[in-house]
């Protein structure tokens, strides 16, 4: 469904991504694992059209995304939840979710898309009238993902969904992500902690200093010495 090939990205004069290739199949769950600063966020942001690659292609179904503006990429069915959640504090929780149903009409009615978002994150239902500033960090993550889901996407890009969450909430969020995949959505998750990678992940890429150094299953990653040297052991 998504095929990234040979991506080279520069930010100012720094070479941030080197020849990055990765693939997400229909309804697949793929994790991009790496330390902070390894290039995970840049990879997701380049796919979303915030950065232009110097070389390489990004194909989504039959469309070439690498020259498309961000809103057109969203219209094709890629949704994004950034690391900082990107909640609109000026809007209520309900408005945050609703906005995605206005901008991208799909075959699914808006009310159903909103209901799906609340079904996946039932906790948000009680907060619908709250402002974006009155949420905890975990609730902001949930709202950010719920809002992305309301776009009725084919593929969700999640940047560090588990970061900064209390250990008590992590299983709840993992369950919500599993529910999203059951709705037929693909997931591309950037994650710095290999212990947060859900066991039902189809494939895992490890990125280090802007290069993909490993591609394979979670089991293979756990047995790979170079992977463990980069991201193993650390519980942060």
């Amino acid at each position: 469904m998504l095929r990234v090939t040979g991506l080279d990205v520069f930010i100012d004069a720094s070479h941030i991504l080197r020849d990055v290739s990765l693939e997400v199949g229909e309804r697949q769950v793929v994790c991009l694992v790496g330390r902070n600063g390894a290039g995970k966020t840049t990879t997701l942001r380049t796919i979303m059209g915030y950065r232009r690659p110097a070389r390489g292609t990004i194909a989504f179904r039959d469309a070439a995304l690498e020259r498309m503006p961000t809103h057109a990429i969203a219209a094709r069915g890629l949704a994004f939840s950034p690391e900082d959640s990107g909640i609109f504090a000026d809007l209520t929780v309900a408005e945050n979710i609703e906005i995605a149903t206005w901008t991208r009409p799909t075959g699914r009615p808006g009310a159903e898309r909103i209901a799906r978002a609340y079904d996946v994150f039932p906790r948000l239902r009680g907060y619908a009238a709250r402002g974006g500033t009155q949420l905890s960090g975990g609730e902001r993550k949930m709202l950010s993902i719920a809002r992305a889901l309301a776009l009725d996407p084919e593929l969700l890009l999640l940047d560090e969904p588990f970061e900064g969450l209390s250990p008590a909430i992590i299983p709840t969020l993992a369950e919500s992500l599993a529910a999203i995949t059951r709705l037929g959505c693909g997931l591309l998750i950037a994650e710095s902690n290999i212990h947060h990678v859900p066991p039902w992940t189809d494939r895992l890429y490890v990125i280090e200093r802007g290069e993909i150094i490993f591609a394979g299953t979670l089991d293979q990653a756990h047995r790979d010495g170079s992977v463990l040297r980069v991201i193993g052991g650390k519980a942060s």
Binding site: T70, A79, G86, A89, D90, A100, T103, T133, R147
Partner: protein, 286 residues
């Protein structure tokens, strides 16, 4: 005092246009005073033409409103021009919008000449009202009501309408709005045109009470910036409160001690800058 509120209503419109464009597009548009001047001149010509064509005089206020709204059509091409500087330093924005001020001044000079243009004979068409021992032209009350209605309308639009919510989301986090499928260039054109329209309507409404002069744009932009500093950059409520403060203060100063008219405004501006640098109604988020 009521003269001050009248001035505040007009000032609010221009400041609201400035706030809206800054809040969403992050452009400090010096030219919003020129839209005001252009609205004034166009208002004079439109009413002159309409009265010549046999329009009953009491309907002139509708002609002014229509002229102001129609003039907002200059918004999209000007926004097209500003698009080149969205991602550049503020200095470029100020330079380009100041260039716009000069160009629009020349447009006015070219079309209407250098002498002030006046709209005679309609100001008092609605008569005068006696309020608390002073007489006020009823037209002033009409403009105050129009300003209040537009303020309420803007408030409803931003708080309740779909596009208003998208505008607020965009103002807060442009990249996130884009990721949710919001086409920024379309939002920008509409917001900018709305901002232009607020200025041109303000200019058109003021004109029965005063003569249209080329310097009126520059004069008003200075006051509009005072309003913005007092109210807080990017805040609509701030624009309304700031316009009332500046307008009423100016009215009172002119009536009691005309020498300090400008000074009084800037004493408030400095006080706000010292005590609440972000303005009275600053947003919690940047």
């Amino acid at each position: 005092m009521l003269g001050g509120v009248f001035h505040a209503a007009v000032l609010f419109l221009v400041a609201a246009g400035l706030q809206l464009v800054f809040g969403v597009q992050r452009i400090l548009n010096l030219a919003c005073g020129s839209f005001y001047a252009l609205g004034a001149y166009t208002g004079v010509s439109a009413v002159g033409w309409a009265l010549g064509a046999g329009l009953p005089a009491p309907l002139f206020v509708l002609v002014l409103l229509a002229a102001g709204v129609a003039l907002a059509a200059i918004g999209p091409p000007i926004e097209r021009l500003l698009r080149t500087i969205y991602d550049r330093d503020e200095a470029f924005q100020l330079l380009l919008t100041f260039a716009l001020v000069l160009m629009l001044e020349d447009v006015i000079r070219f079309v209407w000449g250098t002498a002030p243009v006046q709209l005679g004979g309609v100001y008092l068409v609605y008569g005068q009202a006696r309020i608390a021992s002073t007489t006020v032209p009823v037209y002033n009350l009409v403009v105050i009501a129009a300003g209040a209605l537009i303020a309420l309308g803007m408030g409803w639009f931003l708080a309740r309408s779909r596009f208003g919510r998208i505008v607020r989301a965009t103002a807060e986090n442009r990249e996130m709005a884009e990721a949710l499928g919001v086409d920024m260039s379309r939002v920008y054109v509409r917001v900018f045109t709305l901002g232009v329209g607020l200025g041109t309507v303000g200019g058109a409404l003021v004109i029965p009470a005063t003569a249209a002069m080329n310097e009126m744009g520059i004069e008003l932009i200075v006051e509009a910036f005072a309003v913005v500093v007092i109210g807080g950059l990017g805040s609509m409520r701030g624009a309304a409160a700031g316009a009332l403060i500046v307008g009423v203060l100016k009215g009172v100063a002119i009536a009691t001690w005309p020498e300090v008219e400008m000074l009084a405004i800037y004493v408030i501006v400095i006080a706000v800058l010292v005590l609440r640098p972000a303005g009275l109604f600053a947003r919690a988020t940047a």
